[in-house]
Symmetry: C2
Subunit: 198 residues, 2 copies
């Protein structure tokens, strides 16, 4: 049975992929709007995991909508969550099992239980969050066993997360000062640089 | 690294055990108050899973307290949750990683996120709920791949869940009519009768 995992190449989506690969034929998908080629970061990590990878273009209007939400809010949480929900809906049209790397300690772009059930019912899909029952410190132990990772700040490196095209789109429409106001400085991301198969 | 799984022999705790056995040296624990020998059901299932099994006696006063909570409420949810929380605390004194078979669709004895964090901090323990990111229908697919199960009604068969000693204790103190009032009829449980190793 195929399971499509929304994939950024960060430690959480990598661990989710490894966990599900025991039960499903895992396929990694990175969504992109065509503004940046940051999906290449995810592709390189997918190759290290030796798992099939697809890049899929999302409609520009989803990014436009996320830009307006984010600009109105003055912070990125709801804009990022909006993109993630749309990406889950797109994945649901292509696969009966979808998954991501959300953790119980995540704030964004975590879905409410009611939103999860709505998605599952509307698209008749299984939505799995394999890491949801694990704390941050437990995840860190498992990550250490499987991966070497690089931590980076969002302003220093461009990863495959939605955040980066959202920043770019806001920069193009509202200027660099808007980006600096909206996105907190020093926000950490990770990318997997090595997979130690067990 | 050892992980202690609170184990009843039902489909959820069995699936949780199988999932974690990839990452940890799993040990199954069934807690019992010495009123019934229903722990034997769990032991038989543990043998089918070929995983180490321990039965541990919990202090009688925990059951006494659960009886009073349940009798006062007029329904069993909080009494069962009380026993489960105490069992998790006991397990935390013996193991750095503890786990159970809770699902996101469970109502009882699920802990709030604040209670989970409190437990982890107080006992410096990793508390994993491997099934938390899976819906009931996804669990059912995985269960089918690994196990043959028997479904039964609580009034027809005595499994290793906390519910059964709680029923017995209430019967001894408040009589059989109290049990019939408090526990909903037709409540379904499962027990694993075969493990199909993959």
């Amino acid at each position: 049975m195929k399971a499509t995992i929304l994939f950024s190449g960060g430690k959480d989506s990598c661990l989710a992929a490894i966990m599900l690969s025991r039960f499903f034929e895992v396929e990694l998908i990175t969504y992109n709007f065509g503004l940046l080629d940051n999906w290449k970061q995810a592709k390189q990590v997918a190759e290290k995991l030796k798992l099939p990878f697809k890049i899929i273009k999302l409609p520009q209007k989803i990014l436009d909508e996320a830009v307006e939400i984010t600009n109105k809010d003055g912070f990125p949480n709801n804009g990022i969550k909006y993109i993630h929900q749309k990406a889950l809906e797109f994945a649901s049209q292509d696969s009966k099992v979808i998954a991501d790397g959300m953790r119980r300690d995540d704030r964004v772009p975590i879905l409410l239980l009611s939103e999860i059930r709505h998605l599952e019912d509307k698209f008749d899909v299984h939505y799995i969050q394999p890491l949801m029952g694990y704390s941050r410190k437990t995840i860190n132990i498992l990550v250490k066993r499987f991966f070497e990772i690089k931590e980076y700040k969002s302003e220093d490196f461009i990863g495959a997360e939605y955040e980066f095209e959202l920043r770019e789109a806001i920069k193009r429409k509202y200027g660099v000062t808007a980006v600096e106001k909206i996105f907190p400085k020093g926000h950490s991301q990770t990318i997997v640089i090595r997979y130690n198969e067990i």
